[in-house]
């Protein structure tokens, strides 16, 4: 009975819960509501994924207005997978949030925090679920505006400038996207993605189409923080509250990557992107630069949160690199890494949140000797760090394996060498932290520091544990990613290496 409405429930549920949070005016109740909504959303997302994996895409007409006139929600393998990623991270992070948010946000603003958090969650789910180009822009704005507010809630006053910086950059990106959508609408007269894709067939030479696609690519690259459009990211991640950083790092950029995938492969078609426009010449160098510049800058950070933020810039490079191959293996690598990195980086930021909870700082010099004081959180950090390096039996290894195989498959062996070489930079920045945490004596004033509460350590280990689990059992992640990649390329499911 309720099953046909799952696509819309996925988005509407958190959207309605957000104003309820404001009405509750109570931090604890607001948290409880957000938590319940988060887990129900996860359930819905899993149900949707199960349904589309062995069936055709689901279509849902909002308000009964049939597409292409009304707004359509369209769930296929790719965005169902993404919905699961976003909902999983949200559900886990919310368990963690209670203790962390109480420590980091003013008590009288906690209910507002959860309202904004739910809106951000709504926006990210909406971007993934919608089949309407303009609706996608709307959700993008919902998630962006709420994330500006969330970042600005950080205790550090620099959070305000970080949020402001993100606001400016994000708005420019959103404007570019809006212009792109508008131009596409001008040519096709439709905003429905599927319909737009049909009408764009044969228009590859049209200059308006090319300009539309160019605007969309630049706008989305800004939102997903592709080098050199990443400048908003380090500050935003470093000064936002721990919960927000973990949530945004694991989901926001990933959703933007999804939007790029959607516009590139499902709507405009790979031939516009890679033949008419030289995306295959533009994206790989930028992705490789991101890998190296991000990692190199990460090595020199003293604030570990900032270090991980720059590491994110590098990891986004891997994802974009995989996509830019435009091959089955490459897309599989990109999509798998989207998932694996969400788990790993989410877990790492949660581990840092545990540190911040106890120390009020995540600077390297304050974390001396923490390995003895907070063994569980620090062990999680090490395991997550190994995932960033791409050590076997972590999820990061699986992504890198596919990425290098894809590079070799394209005959780009120098790129394969660069991917592996950049992993070694991750080794350097991760081990800098390991040495400080395990081998330097703890300062005397930290003798009271203990492990963070279980409600924080457990979610941290849940994500880190998952990142190890999916490094060992890859049938689900690689299977779904491969199936989504094949769907994007509309190639039959090959049995390639």
């Amino acid at each position: 009975m309720i099953t046909p409405h799952l696509p819309v429930l996925q988005v509407v549920l958190p959207l309605l819960a957000a104003p309820v949070c404001v009405l509750l005016r109570n931090g604890r109740l607001a948290w409880l509501l957000a938590l319940v909504v988060g887990w129900v959303s996860l359930l819905i997302a899993v149900l949707l994924l199960v349904r589309v994996l062995d069936g055709p895409p689901l279509s849902y007409a909002i308000g009964g207005w049939a597409p292409p006139w009304g707004i359509e929600y369209r769930i296929d393998r790719l965005n169902a997978f993404l919905l699961v990623i976003v909902a999983t991270i949200d559900a886990v992070v919310l368990v963690y949030a209670r203790a962390s948010v109480e420590r980091e946000i003013d008590p009288d603003r906690v209910y507002l925090f959860y309202a904004a958090f739910l809106l951000c969650f709504t926006g990210l789910l909406g971007i993934a679920a919608t089949g309407d180009a303009f609706n996608l822009f709307v959700f993008l704005e919902i998630s962006s505006l709420s994330s500006y507010a969330l970042i600005a809630m950080g205790r550090d006053r620099r959070a305000l400038t970080a949020a402001y910086q993100y606001l400016i950059m994000g708005t420019i990106g959103a404007t570019f996207i809006l212009i792109g959508v508008g131009l596409a609408y001008m040519v096709t007269g439709t905003l429905n993605m599927a319909d737009m894709a049909d009408r764009l067939v044969g228009l590859t030479g049209n200059r308006t189409v090319r300009v539309a696609f160019a605007f969309l690519t630049v706008g989305l690259s800004l939102k997903l923080a592709l080098f050199p459009l990443h400048l908003w990211l380090p500050n935003a991640y470093a000064y936002a509250p721990s919960t927000v950083t973990a949530f945004l790092a694991a989901t926001a950029t990933k959703v933007s990557v999804y939007a790029l995938l959607r516009f590139t492969f499902s709507i405009f078609g790979a031939d516009v992107a890679f033949e008419v426009l030289p995306l295959d010449l533009i994206l790989p160098p930028l992705a490789i630069l991101a890998m190296f510049v991000g990692s190199l800058v990460a090595i020199f950070q003293d604030d570990v949160k900032r270090m991980l933020a720059y590491s994110s810039v590098a990891q986004i490079g891997y994802i974009v690199l995989g996509i830019s191959f435009a091959s089955l293996d490459g897309l599989t690598a990109g999509i798998v890494h989207l998932f694996n990195h969400a788990l790993t980086k989410g877990g790492l930021f949660l581990a840092l949140g545990c540190v911040f909870y106890r120390l009020g700082s995540v600077r390297l010099k304050d974390m001396r000797g923490l390995g003895q004081r907070m063994p569980l959180a620090m062990a999680a950090f090490v395991v997550g760090g190994l995932g960033l390096i791409g050590v076997p039996l972590t999820a990061g290894f699986v992504s890198k394996w596919y990425l290098v195989v894809a590079a070799l498959g394209n005959g780009w062996w120098p790129v394969a060498v660069l991917v592996l070489a950049s992993s070694l930079l991750a080794l350097v920045y991760v081990w800098r932290v390991v040495e400080v945490v395990y081998f330097q004596p703890a300062p005397r004033e930290h003798s009271e520091v203990r492990e963070a509460p279980l409600s924080m350590v457990l979610p941290t280990w849940l994500l880190i544990g998952a990142s190890v689990y999916f490094g060992v059992d890859t049938s689900v992640t690689v299977g779904v990613a491969r199936s989504a990649a094949a769907f994007l390329l509309q190639a039959p499911l090959g049995a390639g290496p």
Binding site: V391, V398, V405, L427, F439, V472, T474, S475
Partner: protein, 487 residues
């Protein structure tokens, strides 16, 4: 248990042991008991596979499929059997030794020490029994990571710095070079299984093949071919039992073992024979043999001298294998066992000296043979094995390597072996001579032998070094089975 079950269980056994050791952490006697029992069980498990393998069986097992077509899978062949036997057998005396050493020095974090040790042995079993290059790589990395806390055990700044070198070199070569080679192999041949005649023949051009060989040989940093050898002297900051079993046996032998596996089962000996682009290999190995010996000659720190001797002895294995002649390859395989017994004895003796006399420098050892006769007798046997003189087992492997090189007409290899024998004698025999025939410094405090567990372990390994000279049949049979197809 069927051989298949045993194969699957062997790498797991030390890991289970590690968990139990961790649980018994608060009760040292129970904890050490678990270590000893695990070591004993592991050896029995490995030894139980021997009849099957000697009869020509190749028991195999699969843990799980990690990526489509790529499984963590095991298949026991003669070389892996030999390596597993040596490592698991020597773990027993080494555990006895560890107990004596760690308690005598009142080391901290002993539970962590024994846990990591067990994990390292589990990884070693995984390497020895690996059925494909992918499995081998996974356990190779696990071995690197599990030995890192052992190298940095003391936590002092010099240990941390050494740990950085250790991890930096081993991980960067394995990820940057070896993984690239593995991925290229996978991409070119579509499989990573160890197959008797190799999997690369006919898949890539000769130039690429030569490049791949270089990526493998230098990517397998644990084999310590120059210039990828710096991590091994660095690892000497670790407690002596770690240097003894891991950095004289398990870790370094895992390196040369992997090189042999790659040469035999990935490239194929016949393929390598026809590969002109692979001709540089004996020269690199030969240069390492000689250079490392020359450096060893100049080391006054006993452990460092032993470490450079290890670098040189490891290069023997690669050098002999690069002759690509059945006798020499058999010699190379045998040398894995022969060097293990000799070198662990030397490290045991060095640790005994450090424990009883607190001496680490070669120049301080005059007359010590009178105070520690057992220890220095064992040291003498170990030294003879390094030089390759009867009645020590080092002679047997050297004999095979030399015969192989002569038969193949490789004069360069013959010259390297002869020259390095002289060098070995030059840096080991003076130590023995000084210990027994020079008068001790009368001003020094008197001391006796090291604690009993230490003594027991070093006598056992020294006895093994001699016994293996008298009864080399078992390892030789395994080595000859490895090369039977080539003759």
């Amino acid at each position: 248990m069927s051989p298949e079950t045993t194969v699957a269980a062997a790498p797991l056994l030390p890991l289970v042991g590690a968990v139990l050791i961790w649980l018994a952490g608060r009760r040292p006697n129970l904890r050490e008991g678990v270590t000893l029992v695990t070591a004993g069980l592991l050896f029995l498990a490995v030894a139980s596979l021997l009849p099957t393998v000697l009869a020509g069986g190749r028991p195999a097992a699969v843990w799980l499929e990690l990526l489509p077509g790529l499984a963590i899978a095991f298949r026991v062949e003669p070389l892996g059997m030999l390596f597993a036997l040596v490592a698991s057998l020597l773990w027993i005396p080494n555990s006895v030794y560890s107990i004596g050493y760690m308690r005598a020095h009142r080391e901290a974090h002993q539970t962590r020490f024994y846990v990591c040790f067990a994990v390292a042995l589990g990884s070693t079993m995984g390497i020895a029994f690996a059925g494909n290059m992918f499995t081998l790589f996974v356990f190779y990395e696990a071995l690197t990571l599990s030995t890192y806390p052992l190298v940095t055990h003391s936590g002092k700044p010099d240990a941390v710095r050494a740990g950085r070198t250790y991890l930096g070199i081993l991980l960067s070569t394995s990820i940057g070079l070896q993984l690239l080679a593995i991925l290229s192999t996978w991409w070119a041949s579509g499989t990573l299984d160890f197959v008797d005649d190799g999997i690369l023949a006919g898949t890539v051009g000769d130039g690429t093949m030569g490049l791949l060989l270089a990526l493998y040989v230098f990517g397998i940093g644990k084999a310590a071919l120059m210039p990828i050898h710096r991590w091994l002297p660095a690892a000497m900051v670790a407690p002596v039992p770690v240097s003894a079993l891991l950095h004289a046996v398990a870790v370094v032998k895992a390196g040369v073992f992997t090189v042999l596996k790659v040469m035999i089962y990935v490239f194929g000996i016949d393929t390598l024979r026809e590969l002109a682009e692979g001709a540089w290999l004996p020269y690199v190995a030969g240069a390492t043999v000689i250079l490392a010996s020359l450096i060893a000659l100049r080391q006054d720190n006993l452990k460092l001298r032993l470490a450079y001797s290890t670098v040189s002895q490891l290069a023997y294995v690669v050098l002999a294998a690069a002759v690509l002649n059945p006798l020499a390859i058999a010699g190379a395989a045998f040398h894995i066992a022969a060097h293990a017994f000799g070198k662990i004895t030397l490290f045991f003796a060095a640790g005994a000296i450090y424990t009883a006399a607190h001496k680490t420098a070669v120049s301080e050892l005059a007359g010590i043979g009178r105070r520690m006769p057992w220890t220095m007798a064992a040291f003498a046997i170990g030294s003879l094995s390094m030089v390759g003189v009867p009645p020590a087992v080092g002679f047997v492997s050297k004999w095979y390597m030399l015969r192989g090189a002569v038969e193949a007409g490789q004069l360069f290899v013959v010259a390297v072996i002869v020259l390095s024998t002289l060098l070995n004698a030059a840096y080991f025999l003076p130590i023995v001579y000084d210990a027994f025939f020079k008068p001790p410094n009368p001003a020094e405090s008197t001391h006796g032998e090291a604690p009993l567990p230490i003594l027991l372990a070093l006598v056992a390994s020294a006895a093994g070094t001699v016994l293996l000279f008298g009864f080399p049949d078992l390892p030789l049979d395994l080595a000859r089975q490895l090369t039977a197809r080539l003759e």
